[in-house]
């Protein structure tokens, strides 16, 4: 019973990831694609959590935090590229 619930929620997350993939491919502007990729990262975190419950292991728990940090840094880097045109500035006060 419990495994069925987990499998169904995994399926729902997979469908929502597919919907985000549609937004990445179709999205008319670049910010749409960046937001969709960020949300795919968050969906991956949820899937990792559910799969680690299904496999009955706590070995993947650090992967969850890792994906959160990487999704944050990636989205911030892309936003800064869209806003300022360069990712790492030499001197901010110029």
């Amino acid at each position: 019973m419990f495994e069925t619930i987990l499998t169904v929620s995994l399926l729902i997350l997979a469908i929502s990831t597919l919907a985000f993939v549609y937004r990445v491919v179709k999205g008319p502007t670049t910010p749409d694609r960046v937001i969709a990729l960020d949300a795919i990262g968050i969906n991956l975190i949820g899937m990792t959590g559910i799969i680690s419950i299904l496999l009955d292991t706590d070995a993947f728990l650090s992967v969850i935090l890792l994906l959160g940090v990487l999704a944050f840094i990636g989205t911030v880097a892309f936003s800064k590229f869209l806003e300022k045109g360069e990712i790492i500035e030499n001197d901010r006060d110029q």
Partner: protein
């Protein structure tokens, strides 16, 4: 146009310490759990990359006055010295050992010489990643 990053910079000040603590946790978890020098070093350098994104190369150099090429060399030196150190005990190159010690605060703790080798890996990964990113960022 003068842009203002006050939300991003305040978030960075909080998140940075969480990422650094997480990288130290991953580094020390490596002996018995997933983790180790490689992923710990990558997390530390991603913390520094977050600092580079929120501020600029000049400020980060003022905060962390480290020459990352020297850091790479020091890491390689530590890794080689742990291998050479096994000659002192008449063991083959890169032989590692461990033992249990009574530490004042932690109680009985397993200390392994493989951690010293892992510190070398950690420093090399941080040094190489930051050298690559800073070299690309500095070129105009």
């Amino acid at each position: 146009m003068k842009t203002n990053d006050v939300i991003f910079q305040t978030t960075t000040k909080v998140v940075l310490f969480i990422i650094v603590m997480f990288s130290i946790f991953l580094f020390f978890a490596g002996h018995h759990n997933p983790g180790g020098g490689f992923i710990g070093g990558l997390m530390t350098s991603s913390a520094i990359v977050l600092l580079l994104l929120a501020y600029d190369i000049k400020t980060v150099k003022k905060i962390l006055p480290i020459n990352f090429l020297t850091l790479t060399a020091v890491g390689l030196m530590i890794a080689v010295l742990t291998g050479v150190g096994s000659f002192l005990f008449g063991a083959p190159f890169l032989s590692h050992t461990f033992d249990y010690f009574e530490l004042p605060l932690l109680g009985e703790t397993e200390l392994a010489t493989a951690v010293l080798f892992d510190i070398g890996v950690y420093l090399v990964v941080v040094g190489v990643t930051m050298t690559i990113i800073q070299t690309i960022g500095e070129s105009e």
